[in-house]
Symmetry: C2
Subunit: 431 residues, 2 copies
């Protein structure tokens, strides 16, 4: 495709939606990517920038220079501008900031001062706010005359004389009301106000729960400083769901586009931790070397107990981690959930004890082997259920993200207890 | 709390947001729940209904009777009404439908005819549509006069004489334009039109990618029949992310509120499948009984190889399943991703082969045991990487949801190959 036909490429790429263009740039390599970036320069849509990974944005800075890059940033909404500046190293950031007009620079610098993952970072500074004593007609005239409004908005924020939000007027209400009506009389006062330092997870939780579309953000003194819109929240929800899935599998990368070398490094760490826990399990087996020498059937059967424990524990763990993330699992119902999980673990433990016991008995023609594996199964499935819920709750209390570390602890427990129970009981009853 | 103070309870509960009320009802049990449902009857907010699980809605029908329940349904948006009716058994559905006014009944019945998980099910029938030859003034007058409009909307759909959508006008644009301007001149024609039979995952994908807020839905002949709004999409995104997480752990329940008995049953199925694969692994070990009798160290070390393979494979699998769900992993880049995963598997395989080989050598003071476990580790980590990507791609091609079945297949492969490689190589080189 990309041999010599510059004009055709431009004609094809320029009309694309910015998300598609970003994907296209990301999927190309080396010279092809650089060529495309150069070709797009005259009509580069700034909206493409937030969709790209950091290294490709660096390449764009390199090819366009700081001045042109700052001009692109200037056209973005303040939340996107802050997002991009935040992900640059300090020297680059200073270069770009220096080339922004004073007003934009001030807004971006303020944004960068809010801690990461807070409402302050998510919000856009551009918003439509009007005083509460205005009428519908005055508000409409203001909207018609005012050029500094955001490009798109769906609600008007109504503020009191101290610029604190007191209500919102959805635009369709404004349109349907008569001009002399006071905003005060048509505004909705059921307001979900976000503080600038609120965690983005809590913001997303409120949006999702109350089906919000747009919410006012206030500073420490309660003054309206920005708005958060649902499309930013969709990104947060995606990110957090993705984080949960990836962390449960011990991954920190977020996409299939990460380089091979980065992938090797990030996965190595987790596998290294897992090697430690596997060796711990082997040490437990090593304690019973003489039992294994005498009854080789134990070696054949022992992975079954550990594997069933690991799987049962993972089921409980996933529900617990998800429950914590969705705020369904709280201190007030924790004991009830623990009780339920123990009951589930015990019930399935007994069911699988009977099944596995019968299979082991039939296989090795020794009833005692069946009895031993059955006992070990009940013990391990109950312990698995208990660990599956207790480990994430404990980590949460220690302020460690349960999604990151729970899975290692859990499999360590189920492996160690699985081998210990099975081989220990076998040593007691079979030798 | 809920002893005798009915009035106080009502005063506390009635002003709550519907999502909070639904949670409260859900968290109560038995008599307390029934009491609260009865207490709320005079001011029951219909919006609570879609937030409740099916069995609690059944309890409400039982206590309120079909006529009152139908009156609540009548007040809901059509998409919520369809959602609720769809989840009832046929007899109940017929009772409620019979008590709805003709117009609502027709709309709900049409909705129920669309297949599940399609745009037709998600959409609301209520929408604001205007012809393209109107002016801003005419549109505003229409909005002011018309009572059958949806309660809230953010865009006007512009349709041609055959009622096909040709553009959208965002309300803020409408407000800021002068009355004589033609809608045609301010409308945006960059339209993402959804077909009624489009899969909800594809709808969500478009919303997310293009930052849509509201999209028109058309029937087979291209006529505008409904709209989908972003708040419905947030629910879809949540559901699908949750499904992915839960299915990877072999769970089909979706919340910590599911009853203990249901939980036991749903988890049993997955554990039963897992028992089958664990026994398969044990059969492989059984092939090498005589080797294990002669060198007990093999029994001690063998879980390490299987466990590392399982973990490495799960990492690849999670990335692949997530990549497929997010449409990042496609036929066009599949081979590149497979190549990368193989390289990552081989690199980490060699790293852990060296590590584990050295540890095994030191532990049992036999260099050959170290060499054997090292070889087995490389083999299993490469196979794990290959399976981690090939299994979900294969299932996707067979139109089976890769999130559901991949994990079982993967651990079967890594266990079997892990034990086979380690014990097989040991039998060849050590005996």
């Amino acid at each position: 495709l990309e041999e010599e036909r510059d004009e055709i490429v431009r004609e094809l790429v320029v009309p694309l939606h910015y998300a598609d263009t970003a994907d296209l740039i990301e999927s190309l390599h080396g010279d092809h990517r650089s060529r495309l970036i150069d070709l797009l320069r005259p009509d580069f849509n700034p909206e493409i920038l937030p969709e790209l990974p950091d290294d490709i944005r660096d390449e764009i800075i390199e090819r366009y220079g700081f001045a042109d890059f700052a001009a692109l940033i200037e056209e973005l909404d303040s939340d996107d501008a802050v997002y991009i500046l935040d992900r640059m190293d300090e020297a680059e950031q200073a270069h770009v900031l220096a080339r922004l007009p004073l007003e934009t620079r001030t807004i971006v610098e303020q944004g960068l001062n809010y801690p990461e993952y807070t409402a302050g970072r998510l919000m856009q500074r551009e918003l439509a706010a009007v005083p509460d004593y205005w009428t519908v007609g005055e508000a409409i005239d203001y909207l018609r005359s005012n050029a500094v409004l955001p490009e798109d908005f769906y609600v008007l924020f109504v503020v009191d004389p101290r610029h604190r939000p007191v209500g919102i007027v959805r635009l369709n209400r404004l349109l349907r009301a008569k001009r002399p009506v006071r905003l005060r009389d048509i505004m909705s006062t059921e307001l979900d106000i976000m503080k600038v330092d609120m965690d983005q997870e809590d913001v997303a939780f409120l949006f999702r729960r109350k089906d919000l579309l747009s919410a006012p953000v206030v500073d420490a003194s309660g003054r309206l400083v920005g708005r958060i819109t649902i499309d930013d929240i969709v990104d947060v929800i995606d990110e957090e769901a993705e984080d949960d899935i990836l962390r449960l599998a011990g991954l920190s990368e977020s996409s299939i586009y990460v380089s091979t070398w980065e992938t090797i490094k990030s996965r190595f760490t987790w596998l290294f931790v897992n090697l430690g826990t596997a060796i711990l399990a082997s040490l437990v087996i090593g304690l019973f070397e003489s039992s294994l020498e005498q009854i080789v059937a134990l070696a054949v059967l022992m992975p079954i107990v550990a594997s069933m424990g690991g799987n049962a524990g993972t089921q409980t763990l996933t529900i617990a981690v998800r429950g914590l993330a969705m705020k369904e699992l709280t201190a007030s119902n924790a004991m009830r959930v623990v009780g339920k999980e123990l009951a589930v673990g015990a019930a399935n433990g007994i069911a699988f004890a009977v099944l596995t016991g019968a299979i082991a008995w039939a296989w090795f023609d020794q009833p005692m082997i069946g009895a031993v594996i059955a006992m070990a199964m009940v013990i391990n499935l109950v312990i698995a259920a208990l660990s599956g819920i207790a480990i994430p709750l404990g980590l949460e209390r220690l302020k460690i993200d349960p999604a990151v570390a729970s899975a290692v602890f859990l499999t360590t427990v189920t492996d160690v207890i699985g081998f210990l129970a099975f081989l220990g009981l076998a040593t007691i009853f079979l030798l």
